[in-house]
Assembly symmetry: C2
Homo-oligomer: 423 residues x 2
């Protein structure tokens, strides 16, 4: 462990307007996809997350505000850059490309505007590694990595030195897991541990997938076992003297009535019935992996034909059951921090128990296994932040204000610095 | 303990459209004022709430949605009736009285429209007791109690048999505490324990005050000690074989910038500057005890002069920094479940770190001790629910949907019933 420390570069760097002072220890920033605070609470009550409890007591545990809409790409891009969506350029997993007018996935680093903290750390000599569960997210976030390792659990058996800067992952972290599994996420953390143990990385971003949270409520035994498995890997990271900071991209809520039927507002259908056609609803949760949520989330953007009055339509949507907020483009940019070119004429958020769909034909509910848990709105915006180190006075003040999940690397690199080091 | 059980009436009853089947055990519904989930998490991580952990594992812990605006009177009235504000008639602590046009506190049971669950339980022979921290809340909630005990920690030394249906509280629960103290809340629970021990009550509502939460963040040692003291009393209730169900009226967030300055939108001032006078802002958090929040919360209602267009003003407010939602009266009634006669032309909610004030002159910030923690908006709407008993399948489904804090008595009375008993 001490040998390892001596080999770690600890040069401060500045990126996207923020200073980072990583200590000469492994830095591990973790995004547990879909980790509503309740998952931690339940697993902790059952005594299954001793390492997270230890972090909470010796360091910090609190709640931070993510980026809206509370989706995966939006928040992962914010976290790896330290910037809100308006500056990352990523306001959804799925958008109308402002250049082509086509509906496209944002799973390409060409959509990510700023440089990443990972690429900046690499330039100071840190051994950077990023491990994601899904390969599409890896592609998006690997922007600018020249030598840093990046791979996904999903395609661990397909890595190449050219693309991933590592030639063999399975001998390090085990056989490639199925993407629709809890193991796909545990694998991400296990790979992180192995990378540090092997001296291959000392500045890591580990980002899991929310298959388990979409499928299981916090008190399901499967969820508790899953969190226990994550905690075990966190314990191994702490044993390697890593600074560990953990947050989530978004929370998760049940979106069903008590009879188990999904509680869906099919907004494109409703608008075209009410206003006579030409309205188009884009569901930014859409990604290549829809089996667990049917592309149904709690935020959508709406494109209107030019003959309709935006304010009239907004007022009408605002009164629909299950809707909580309707923003026009200006308000979506100023109040929701969204990039204007990813937003239509209106941006709509849904209630805790509701999702917004496009038309019934656009969503396959047959794979939902009789329940729907999802995210996207304000009710999934608040997420945990857990830091292994005691916070400095400066960061105590940050944590006591309105901290964000995309402050994750700042907490990981800077939060434990003493007041003396800061001055 | 067994002797006590034999004396408890267990007659089902129906009130406000719901059936209650309290078992022949002491039923204790607790509202911990201002109990954001983070307070529990921190105290639990420090090992200071073993009884709440035990409840979580043997029974249920989850998150429920309160009533908006997330204020004390609104939510306490909802909890004791099992109804949303639109049906209780209480949409704030402070309103413009629709009869007189005067600004008044809602601390009088004349404003509470429906009958209470407590009064209904009393009529079935239950020995009802309600203990609140503040006396004004007791006055409001004691509606219809003919024999049931009701008193406050604040005025424990002033009880009379005529008003409170108990002649001496101090010999039961100790000396009357200061209202601006943690003891004012611990006293409420200690009194509940004593009432059960003495055979004076078997159906209880215990409602604390949020002085500590306004003053201290979850990781302050004072907050942790306070929650440990609450947990000790909860342990005593469980030892008396009580069914214990606990929720909160609202959460709590810091409403300051990182320099400790309150983050206030003075909306009446801003509106009158923009629109030329005549706008009136009512802060429904206002109550007789303002030292800890200066009457600054995250929800207000706005009365406009007739010459202004409501939609134009709404759109303007919607773009102010710190504002999250602006509803007109119709939307406030349909989407926020508010009583129309307590709402002006607009209803405005604020962000996690912001409060909305009237004018600078209306708010005394000098007593805030250099920080402001408050509530009222959506960010303080989600609160814990903890039930000491395992949930039946029916209530598991309720808990997995969109449960409310005003389902508290339903959880306390019905949640542990088996499927057989329900049929």
């Amino acid at each position: 462990m001490l040998e390892l420390q001596h080999t770690i570069a600890s040069t401060p760097f500045t990126i996207n307007g923020r200073d980072y002072h990583p200590p000469a220890r492994p830095i591990v920033a973790i995004c547990v996809d879909g980790c509503a605070d309740e998952y931690l609470n339940t697993a902790i009550a059952h005594g299954r997350m001793p390492n997270v409890v230890k972090m909470s007591v010796q360091g910090y545990r609190g709640v931070v505000r993510g980026a809206l809409p509370s989706f995966t790409n939006v928040n992962n891009c914010a976290i790896v850059t330290g910037l809100p969506p308006r500056q990352t350029g990523i306001g959804g997993n799925y958008i109308i490309d402002p250049q082509s007018g086509d509906e496209v996935m944002t799973n390409s680093s060409r959509f990510l505007k700023p440089d990443t903290i990972l690429a900046a750390a690499e330039r100071t000599g840190r051994k950077v590694a990023m491990v994601t569960a899904k390969d599409k997210l890896r592609e998006l976030l690997a922007k600018g990595l020249e030598t840093g390792i990046s791979f996904s659990a999903e395609k661990a058996n397909q890595v190449t030195a050219e693309v991933n800067h590592i030639a063999d992952v399975e001998s390090l972290a085990g056989p490639t897991p199925a993407i629709y599994s809890g193991e796909a996420s545990v694998y991400v953390l296990r790979a992180g541990v192995a990378l540090i143990e092997q001296g291959l990385a000392d500045f890591l971003y580990l980002s899991t997938t929310d298959y388990m949270q979409h499928r299981y409520a916090p008190d399901a035994p499967e969820a508790i076992d899953f969190y226990a498995a994550l905690d075990e890997q966190i314990g191994r990271l702490l044993a390697l003297d890593a600074v560990v900071a953990l947050t989530a991209d978004h929370g998760m809520n049940a979106k069903c009535d008590t009879d188990g039927q999904p509680n869906v507002v099919y907004l494109e259908t409703a608008l075209n019935e009410q206003f006579g056609g030409g309205c188009r609803v884009i569901c930014p949760i859409t990604d290549p992996y829809v089996a667990h949520h049917g592309a149904l989330g709690s935020a959508v953007t709406v494109y209107l034909p030019t003959n309709l009055d935006v304010n009239d339509v907004a007022a009408w949507i605002r009164d629909l059951p299950g809707v909580t907020e309707v923003h026009d483009k200006a308000s979506a940019m100023s109040q929701l921090e969204l990039p204007g070119d990813h937003v239509g004429d209106l941006f709509v958020l849904a209630a805790r128990h509701a999702v917004i769909g496009r038309t019934p034909e656009h969503h396959d509910l047959s794979q939902l296994h009789g329940s729907l848990r999802s995210h996207g709105g304000r009710y999934e915006e608040l997420v945990p932040l857990i830091v292994s180190e005691p916070l400095s006075d400066t960061y105590r003040a940050v944590a006591a204000g309105d901290p964000r999940n995309f402050d994750l690397f700042a907490f990981a690199c800077n939060a434990a610095r003493t007041a003396q080091a800061e001055s």
